[in-house]
Amino acid sequence: MSIKSRIDRIDLRPFRFWFQLFAFVFLVYGGHLAIDLGNSLPTFSCGYNSQGNAGVCYLLPLQHQLAQPWTRLFSPAGIVVLGGFGLFILWFVVLNKAWCGYVCPLGTIQDWITGIRKRMGIPYSNYSDDHFNKLKYIKYFLLLALIFIPLAIGGQFISHDWGVPFCKICPARMIIPAFNGDFSQWTIDFSSNTKMALTALGMFITGLFIVGSFIKKRFFCFFCPMSAFHFIFSKLSILKLKKDGSKCTVCGDCYRVCDMQIKPIADDVVSVDILKDDCILCLKCVAACPEEGALKVDVLGKTIFEATRGGFNKRMGTEKNDD
C-alpha cells in the first residue's frame, strides 16, 4: 500500500488529538524551554501567558502597534507594523485555517470540553440557520473593532485605557495563563471606567466560554476575529480544502461531522475551493466523506489527503464491506 493510500486511510481522530496535545504543550509551556517563535503567530498563543508561551498571538502586537501616535504610525517608523504583518502571513500560508483546527490552544481546550460533554452523554446544541447567518458577522465586527479602536487611540480620539481592546475581552487571556498556574488576569481593573467595563466584559465572556464550549462545539471559534482575519488571506495559503462537486452525492455526512455547522460543505457542489470563513480546517469532513475524491486537501496543488471509500470504511469500521 502506498504512503498516500495509508494517509487516506488514517484514523483522523487520534491523529488530531495527539497533534493538538503536542501543539498545546509546545505553545503553552514551550517558553519554559526558552522556545520563542516570535510575536506574529496566527493562533491564540496568548501573550499574557508570559511565563510559558513559546510565541505570541499576532492580535496582541497588532493592536499594540496600531495604537501608536499617527505621526509615528504613518511614518517610516510604521514599517514595523508591516514587518509583523509579513511574519504573520508567512506563518499563516503554511497551515491556512488549520492553525485553528490543529494548533490553537483555545480551540484545543474547547475540544477537550466537548470530549467531557460527550463522555457525560449530554447532546450538543446547534444554532438555527437563521441565527447562524446572523451571528457569523460578529467575528468581522470584532476584527474591525480591534483595528479601529487602537487607531483611534493613536489619533488621540479615545483614551489609552482602550488599549488592546480585544485582548481585554478575550477568554484566552484568562484561561491560557491559568494552565501555568497564573490567575492574575482573573481580575476586574477599577482604575478607570473603560478598563472596568472591558475587564468585566472579559470575565463575563469567560463565563460564556466555559459553559458555551460545553453545550456547543467550538463555541468561541464562531466569534473569533482571528478566524475572520485568516479568511481574508486564506487564498494565499499553500494548503487548500477542495471539493469536486461532480463526485458529491450531497449525503450530508460532511455537514453532520462539522463542528462549525458549515452547511455549504455539503450543499455547495459548484465551488472548488470550499474553505468557508467559519472553517477550522479540522478535516473531519474529508475523513467522513465516502465518495472517492469528492473532498481533498492540497498542498501547492498536490493532494496529500482525500476522501476515499477505503478510508471511509476503515474509519467507520465497515472495512469488510469494502472487500
Binding site: R72, F204, L208, I210, V211, I215
Partner: protein, 335 residues
C-alpha cells in the same frame, strides 16, 4: 508680641536653612523641550530617539534640593561615563544643541545602561565629589521576551567614587514595575567596595522622605510608601496640569530620588587648591507605581464569570427547549 513673632520667624528661617538638604544632582530623560518629546519614542525604559534603527538615549542633568524643587543644569564641568550592557566604558557625546546640557549615547543591545556624571571641586578645604547616576533600560517587546535573565542584573562601574546600585526585586524582568509597598534595596559602594553606616535618603516627588543607614553589606532598604496617587480627572477639572503620555495616557506614577553622602579624611590638592577632607555625594532616580492589586478585584471578577456561566447555561437550555419540536404523529391515508 511683635518681637516674639519676629523671633519665631527668625528661628523658623534659620532652622529651615540649617536642615535644608544639600543640593543634589541627578539625570532625567524628560526633555525640557516639549516639541522634542513628541518626536521621541516611548520604550519600556523611557523616551529615546531612534537613529538608523538604533535607540539613542538622551539624558539631562537636574540640580536642586528635591525632585519638586529643581532645575535643569545649563552647563556642568565634570566627566560623563556610560557603562553599557557588557560593562564596557564609553564617553558619551555631549549635546550642545539644546540650552540645557545633555548627553546622548546609543543603546544597541537589550539590557541596562548606567550613566554617570562626576564633578570635583574644592570648597572650604573640602574636596566635593558630586555624582549623578542614571540606570536606563533598553527593551523593545519586538525583540521578544526569551532573553538572558542575566541581563536584568545591575551593571557595575568599579571606578564610581560613590555609587548607588538598585538591587533587583525577586523575579524582576524588563517589564517589572516598582510599586507601592515594594521593599527596595540599594547597594552603596565606594570605588566598587560596599560601605556600611552610610546615610541614604529616599524622597518622592510628592514629598515623602525617609532615610536609613547602609548595613554591613552596604545595603540600604526602603519600603516604598503606599502612596495616594492622585485622581487625574478631578485634578484636570480643578484646572491642574496633569502629566499625560502619548495617546493621552495619564501617568499614574511618582518618582523617587535616592541620595547618599560619604565623608573621608582623604587630603590632597586639586588644580592647586589644597583640601584636608573629601565629601562624596551621589543621587539617582527611579519611578514607582500604585500596587497592581490596589485597583483590581478578583472577587468581582468571579462574580462576572459566574454571571456569564449562568446566562449561558440558562440561555443555552432555553434555546434548546424552544427548538424542540413536539412529537406529532403523522397519519397517511394509503387508500
Amino acid at each position: 508680641m511683635k518681637s516674639y513673632l519676629t523671633l519665631i520667624f527668625l528661628c523658623l528661617f534659620f532652622s529651615s536653612k540649617l536642615f535644608a538638604s544639600m543640593p543634589k544632582l541627578w539625570f532625567t530623560d524628560q526633555s525640557p523641550d516639549r516639541a522634542m518629546v513628541k518626536k521621541m519614542h516611548m520604550r519600556h525604559g523611557g523616551y529615546v530617539h531612534v537613529e538608523d534603527g538604533v535607540d539613542v538615549k538622551q539624558l539631562w542633568l537636574r540640580q536642586g534640593e528635591s525632585l519638586a524643587k529643581s532645575n535643569y543644569v545649563s552647563s556642568a564641568a565634570g566627566d560623563y561615563v556610560v557603562v553599557d550592557v557588557q560593562e564596557n566604558i564609553h564617553i558619551p557625546q555631549i549635546d550642545s544643541e539644546t540650552k540645557q546640557q545633555s548627553i546622548r549615547f546609543s543603546m544597541p543591545d537589550e539590557g541596562f545602561y548606567n550613566s554617570y556624571f562626576v564633578e570635583r571641586l574644592v570648597n572650604n578645604n573640602t574636596l566635593v565629589v558630586m555624582s549623578a547616576k542614571a540606570e536606563t533600560l533598553k527593551h523593545n517587546c519586538r525583540n521578544g521576551h526569551k532573553y538572558d535573565r542575566g541581563l536584568v542584573k545591575p551593571q557595575k562601574w568599579s571606578d564610581a567614587p560613590l555609587d548607588i546600585v538598585r538591587l533587583r526585586v525577586p523575579e524582576e524582568d524588563f517589564h517589572t514595575r516598582i510599586r507601592s509597598g515594594t521593599q527596595l534595596k540599594f547597594l552603596i559602594s565606594h570605588y566598587g567596595k560596599p560601605i556600611s553606616g552610610i546615610t541614604v535618603k529616599l524622597e518622592t516627588k510628592q514629598g515623602w522622605i525617609n532615610s536609613t543607614e547602609s548595613d554591613e553589606q552596604g545595603i540600604a532598604s526602603f519600603q516604598i510608601i503606599q502612596d495616594n496617587f492622585f485622581d487625574a480627572k478631578k485634578a484636570e477639572k480643578e484646572g491642574k496640569k496633569v502629566e499625560r503620555g502619548h495617546g493621552g495616557r495619564v501617568r499614574v506614577r511618582d518618582s523617587y530620588l535616592v541620595s547618599a553622602e560619604y565623608q573621608t579624611n582623604e587630603a590632597g590638592s586639586l588644580e592647586g587648591l589644597a583640601y584636608n577632607q573629601t565629601e562624596y555625594t551621589v543621587s539617582t532616580t527611579g519611578r514607582y507605581y500604585p500596587q497592581k492589586f490596589a485597583s483590581e478585584s478578583s472577587e468581582q471578577a468571579l462574580w462576572f464569570v459566574s454571571a456569564g456561566m449562568l446566562v449561558m447555561g440558562v440561555g443555552g437550555y432555553s434555546y434548546r427547549r424552544r427548538r424542540v419540536k413536539p412529537f406529532k404523529e403523522e397519519e397517511f391515508d394509503e387508500h
